[in-house]
Symmetry: none
Subunit: 426 residues, 2 copies
């Protein structure tokens, strides 16, 4: 089965935004055993959208559109596809109601334009959008006797992913006769090249299970994929490979659940050990706390945190001594250590994490861009690490946050003992 | 003149890498007054490369390929294009010499495969590559009496840019007589549909300036584009349209510089008015501070911030009264108001922003998911707004952060007077 993606949007065609949707969809096709034929980008132009659609219908089984479902005049994907297929459109009442409620809730008048988002081609299936107003649309049709599936997704990436994962995936799973199972082994605190060396033979193996590492920020995801006649068979093939990877990589494996984030794993570890945590951030300025607090149910273990961006704030709030700041500077092992010590006194917490570094763009007080210190205080035992990151300000801050999470996990495991997989890795 | 891009590479087709080359090339076409027709991605597959090439020859004047010029067996772009056009290939001696010297210098044996990088279709022009071994290739040909230009560029982005800028740009400048200028008018605090309604006639206008809005998070970017004989003429066409949009949307326009973010605009406003700011966050848990602190030079105005996630932290740190929390709950106008008041006392700041809400996934203390209160305290004058956001936890938190920035801007403008564009919008 062949799929292709048509991304509609002048902002992509003119290079104002990079086409991450095409990459996301392509990786999804691969995951569900569907061959990628090609990707096309066209502007908000009816004639070109129709030409791209016609070419796609002649060569692919599944055609996925992204973009052009919004409320403005230049959002015309749905109209072009319906008109090409000779389908009329009708108002989908539940979608219309959702849009009306959205505006009512905000006390704003709904523009007439927004009605267009609730128009659905006759006979189409609606794919729900939990992150926006424009629903996705799935149309089954025929071309020269062959079945064709057309999926229309909204353009904003978080809406596209939400619609895709909610409804499109289950549809495609049924369509493809083969079952492709995939398990994600998620690893933190090791470089991709280190993992590639350790798993060398498994990555090169021509066996039934494909082992492919993908580098993230202070994390590597290792995807294991196997095709079989049914789910049970595929899982049976993957199981021993997961076991072998865990044996080789040990505690660095933090989960085998694709949907679990590193911060979730850290929060679970804190919950399991009944530990509260606090954060004292300088260069990351709240991003570490922000990531921890994205985990639902975190209120049990996270009560308060501090952003001590100025030296004065480091002294007044976190209790770093003036002497330390004068002698070693804000970006130093000594300062970050005192921040992590001071933090536990501020608002009683079992674990405190402190981050101080130079995220750029310029060297400061003799400290180069990318130099970051992270300290973790677990029940009074403080560990400090120095990092030298490359990249722009945003990248250095994200690397700092990710490595702080990795360090938190390592320090808690060292202090409170190894995590057993059955218990906290739910 | 119409151009289109064909990116060749299985790694893009499978979603392993994001296609930044297409975005770069598109922005370059726009810059040199060349219309973008479409973008296509195909794998390393001769049949599909030729099909994409044929379709492109039928509709575009300039066809730019990226990728497939490397030394390996699956690098076949040059061969496919030459074979389609019926051109023989010959060894380009200077290119061959460069490759041989590269290997000699490194004391390595040149693989036979590397000879392929020096093969050039007969009659083609060589575009020099200062960042790699594969030269670019430019072929002029004809299709149904019309002139066609085919440009082959290497796939690695730094090589592609180098070849493009060195030789392709000067060629295209001569080819196109026209210049296309583009201005981005960035708007915050208004819905896309509202803007579309206000600018309805301008968006629909068939005049020389195209007006196209793109929705972001609590922001809308409006792109104005005009083609003219030279830069000055194009700018002259756009100027009155920018003026008209500013007149219609007023203070909601925060910049006309494409690269400026909302947080940068807010930080500039704080700097211009010599105001320090602090943040007290509950549901956003540090993300607002994190976004403000991503602006370089922010240390002048941001010193310290607080994350008061628990009710106790709201009392102890931000000084919210127990009575208020008991009577109205943490997610209430009253609580967020007290947070914003208390914050200025904590660590002296001129402006304080407080956020408290329910980001989900479940209703809590009778407050629905998506209900968020934001308070801004400017020199003692506190403004509070209630929001009802839709989406998942991450989306609600991001919307809260973006709207907090919008409110900060509005409150500072109201208190300290309107910003004049010439002064702070640099």
């Amino acid at each position: 089965m062949k799929a292709e993606t048509i991304c509609v949007g002048t902002e992509i065609l003119l290079g104002n935004i990079v086409n991450t949707n095409a990459a996301y969809l392509a990786s999804q096709y691969a995951r569900y055993g569907i061959e990628s034929y090609c990707q096309t980008v066209v502007g908000d132009n009816a004639e070109r959208i129709k030409a791209a659609f016609e070419a796609a219908l002649n060569r692919s089984d599944i055609i996925v559109f992204s973009g052009g479902l919004g409320p403005t005049q230049d959002d015309i994907t749905k109209e072009c596809v319906a008109s090409y297929l000779g389908l009329s459109m009708h108002v989908d009442e539940p979608s219309m109601k959702k849009i009306e409620e959205h505006f009512k809730k905000r006390g704003r008048e709904m523009a007439e334009n927004n009605r267009r988002q609730a128009m659905i081609p006759d006979g189409a299936t609606i794919l729900k959008n939990d992150n926006g107003l424009a629903p996705g649309v799935l149309i089954e049709t025929e071309k020269s006797g062959a079945k064709k599936v057309i999926i229309l997704l909204p353009g904003p990436p978080e809406e596209l992913k939400s619609v895709w994962e909610a409804d499109a995936v289950s549809y495609l799973r049924n369509l493809s006769g083969k079952v492709i199972e995939s398990v994600m082994v998620k690893v933190c605190g090791r470089a991709e090249s280190e993992i590639a060396a350790i798993l060398d033979d498994m990555i090169d193996s021509k066996g039934p299970v494909t082992v492919a590492p993908y580098a993230g920020t202070a994390e590597v995801d290792i995807r294991l994929t196997a095709a079989a006649e049914n789910e049970k068979e595929a899982k049976k093939l993957i199981k021993p490979v997961v076991k072998e990877i865990k044996a080789r990589l040990g505690d660095s494996v933090y989960t085998t659940h694709a949907g679990k984030s590193l911060e979730e794993a850290v929060v679970e570890l804190l919950l399991a050990n009944k530990l509260t945590v606090t954060t004292v951030e300088s260069c990351t300025g709240g991003l570490l706390a922000g990531r921890i607090i994205n985990v639902p149910g975190v209120s049990e273990i996270y009560k308060a945190g501090y952003i001590t961006y100025s030296n004065k704030a480091k002294r007044k709030i976190a209790g770093v001594s003036r002497k330390t700041l004068d002698k070693y500077g804000a970006v130093s092992e000594q300062t970050v250590k005192e921040m992590a010590k001071g933090a536990t006194n501020l608002y009683k917490a079992d674990v405190a994490v402190a981050v101080s570094g130079n995220a750029g763009p310029d060297a400061s007080e003799g400290k180069p861009v990318g130099l970051v210190y992270i300290a973790v205080n677990v029940a009074g035992k403080v560990s400090v690490k120095e990092f030298n990151f490359s990249g722009d300000r945003a990248k250095i801050r994200n690397l700092s946050v990710a490595n702080a999470l990795v360090m938190m996990r390592q320090c808690i495991l060292e202090y409170y003992g190894r995590m057993t997989f059955g218990s906290s890795d739910k």
